[in-house]
């Protein structure tokens, strides 16, 4: 067990997520993979959690579950007190659109749109008026230091810049939580550190809950709490040193 972590009991009643007895399996070709096994987990609003573990440990599956990308199969998953298994697709779309921001390893920006349009796209889909959208775009792009690059399209930017646009896109939605799956995996170490610093600032200054998956020790330094997974089982869950 990692000696940098210590076990903790969460007594905070401001639970953002509450998982109990969660199992998840999927087919990989003909093979049935048990990705998560009997997960019990609570995540507070405003927390910065890093999910750590080797490849195939279930980090991404757990993040996908928390980001409502994968549907719950077994057990109970509550998000802000709502049981995800009882939500309709429309309700889940609404949560993804308004309350969750995503940052993916491969950025997943819309290549035909400029940086500011990429950030604005989902705000427009939220139905925000133009003026408010523009304000949020400016704030978000300035927060990630890309305001001067707002007219560039993703292919005209470096990997780090693209990831910062992705963060700005997530941030501008004013989400309750940002789910970041391996956000530094496609970046060099110094750019990765910049990105994590940015996420850390968002967490500290704006109180946005950050959920990150990574096996990079640098990333773990920014987390307040580390959840370690192994073969789909939470093997440790504690505060980071």
């Amino acid at each position: 067990m990692n000696n940098k972590m210590r076990e903790t009991t969460n007594t905070n009643t401001n639970n953002l997520y509450q998982l109990s007895g969660v199992n998840f399996q999927y087919h990989l070709g003909t093979l049935l993979v048990q990705a998560l096994r009997n997960i019990d987990l609570k995540i507070d609003a405003g927390d910065f959690v890093c999910f750590r573990g080797p490849s195939g440990s279930g980090k991404t599956t757990l993040l996908n579950l928390l980001g409502l990308i994968e549907p719950p199969q077994e057990g109970t998953t509550l998000f802000e007190g709502e049981d995800l298994s009882k939500l309709s697709e429309t309700q889940k779309n609404h949560i993804r659109r308004f309350r969750i921001g995503f940052v993916f390893q491969n950025f997943h920006l819309i290549p035909v749109l400029r940086a500011d349009e990429n950030v604005e796209y989902f705000l427009a889909r939220q139905g925000l008026p133009k003026k408010e959208r523009q304000e949020r775009v400016e704030t978000a792009l300035k927060a990630v230091g890309l305001w001067e690059h707002r007219n560039k399209k993703p292919l005209e930017m470096s990997g780090g810049q693209r990831q910062r646009v992705a963060i700005a896109r997530a941030l501008a939605k004013h989400p309750h939580v940002i789910v970041a799956d391996e956000p530094t995996a496609s970046l060099d170490s110094s750019t990765g550190k910049e990105i994590m610093t940015l996420l850390g600032d968002l967490n500290r200054k704006q109180g946005v809950t950050i959920l990150v998956s990574s096996h990079d020790p640098m990333v773990i330094q920014f987390a307040r709490r580390v959840v370690e997974l192994h073969d789909g089982v939470v093997t440790s869950n504690g505060l980071a040193n």
């Binding site: 599956t61 996908n64 980001g67 990308i69 994968e70 549907p71 697709e89 429309t90 779309n93 609404h94 949560i95 993804r96 659109r97 308004f98 995503f102 993916f104 491969n106 997943h108 819309i110 290549p111 035909v112 749109l113 604005e120 796209y121 989902f122 427009a124 889909r125 939220q126 939605k173």
Partner: protein
């Protein structure tokens, strides 16, 4: 924003967009060009057939075509000048060509052979029957003693243009009658029996030879083929004892059977083309949509519903369908009017002896149908592929390559 993203998506990958546009354009264009070509062939073939021998149709006394008479001339049309005037009074009828068939003996002084003569109004027929293949000399025009002969018959008699030939025939009363003619031209139909045994003289000469003022049959020239049914109706109503027969019936063996045969063949080819076009468009559009799984997964992860994704992809398909189909039609017009303005040279058709140009006839209805087909295929393919991708679990879409 959704529409903006859809439109810009089309410009994101120009090669992919161009491939789809070309697939839709080629599909749409080839369908209406093929149909235009078929229509051109049929129309040109019909025009050639009409202007070769029968005109738009013929009139004769009732049942004359169906029965064999011992004395057929007794059943020929009487009072021809009056009948001709009345026929020309029918709306749509522009010309009337009286004819008499008869048998005669032709002699050059040394050799005598039998032949089947046709008395015609040379001056009038010359203007209308333009597809007769005159290989030497000219059409029979207003030469009162002129004779136009099949090449084989002329060869048998060792005749050439300008030579004299005597024609002997029985009058309708059974006495022998004769006249001397000058060869004005030789024709070649490709049918040996016709080329070796037929000739044409002025109808007045034929009537004198047969000692009759009657006319056996009369071909009709009309404003257009579409006038035939009303002309037929007029003749039925106003000319008791006279029947009219359309050229397609008269020329059934060569014209109508050829048209039916070609149409059946074209329909098969058109069906195969249609299948290729539809499958081609479906395949190209579907592939373009399905290779965007990750992108769609990202949109879904950020709250877009399956319905919104479907709308986005359908807008793209709609735009590509409209642009591609328009491109196909414009391309078709460029080919028809700039590249092959004179049409396509075709070999001699059944029953004809000369090559002919076929113009691709662009019919508005067919163009619209081709446009709708190309556009519809692109939209449906986008919709179906979009449905598949939109319904895919988000995680699976994000994980896909």
């Amino acid at each position: 924003m959704l529409t903006l993203a859809a439109i810009r998506n089309l410009m994101r990958n120009p090669r992919r967009t161009l491939a789809i546009l070309l697939t839709v354009a080629i599909g749409t264009g080839s369908l209406f060009l093929f149909h235009g070509f078929n229509a051109g062939i049929m129309n040109q073939y019909r025009a050639n057939s009409i202007h070769a021998f029968y005109g738009y149709g013929q009139v004769n006394t009732a049942d004359y075509r169906e029965k064999v008479y011992e004395k057929p001339w007794e059943h020929w049309m009487q009072n021809w000048p009056d009948l001709k005037r009345r026929l020309l009074g029918i709306p749509g009828v522009t010309q009337v060509f009286p004819r008499i068939n008869f048998f005669g003996l032709l002699s050059n002084g040394n050799i005598t052979v039998s032949g089947r003569g046709l008395g015609v109004d040379g001056a009038e027929e010359e203007k209308f029957f333009s597809t007769i293949n005159v290989v030497q000399g000219k059409m029979l025009s207003n030469e009162s003693d002129g004779i136009l002969m099949g090449v084989g018959l002329a060869r048998s008699l060792d005749l050439k243009v300008g030579d004299k030939v005597s024609v002997l025939s029985n009058t309708i009363r059974g006495t022998l009658n004769g006249a001397e003619f000058t060869v004005v031209g030789l024709y070649h139909t490709g049918m040996k029996d016709v080329d070796d045994g037929t000739f044409r003289v002025q109808i007045g000469q034929a009537q004198t030879l047969l000692d009759t003022e009657r006319v056996e049959i009369a071909s009709l020239g009309l404003d257009g083929n579409e006038d035939w049914s009303k002309v037929d109706t007029s003749i039925k109503g106003e000319f008791p004892g006279i029947e009219a027969t359309e050229f397609a019936v008269l020329d059934k063996v060569y014209y109508q059977n050829s048209v039916d045969w070609l149409n059946a063949q074209f329909n098969v080819v058109q069906f195969i083309m249609l299948a290729i076009v539809v499958l081609g468009i479906f395949n190209t559009v579907s592939t373009a949509v399905l290779e965007r799984k990750q992108e769609i997964g990202n949109l879904r992860a950020n709250g877009e519903s399956a319905k919104e994704i479907l709308t986005l992809l359908t807008i793209e398909g709609l735009t590509l369908g409209i642009l591609g189909a328009l491109l196909g039609i414009i391309g078709g017009y460029i080919i028809v009017f700039l590249i092959i303005p004179n049409g396509i040279l075709m070999p001699a058709a059944p029953g004809l002896t000369r090559q002919f140009y076929v113009k691709v006839e662009l019919q508005t209805v067919r163009i619209l149908l081709s446009f709708v087909l190309g556009f519809f295929c692109a939209v449906v393919a986008s919709f179906l592929a979009g449905l598949r991708i939109a319904k895919m679990p988000i995680g699976e879409a994000l994980r896909s390559n």
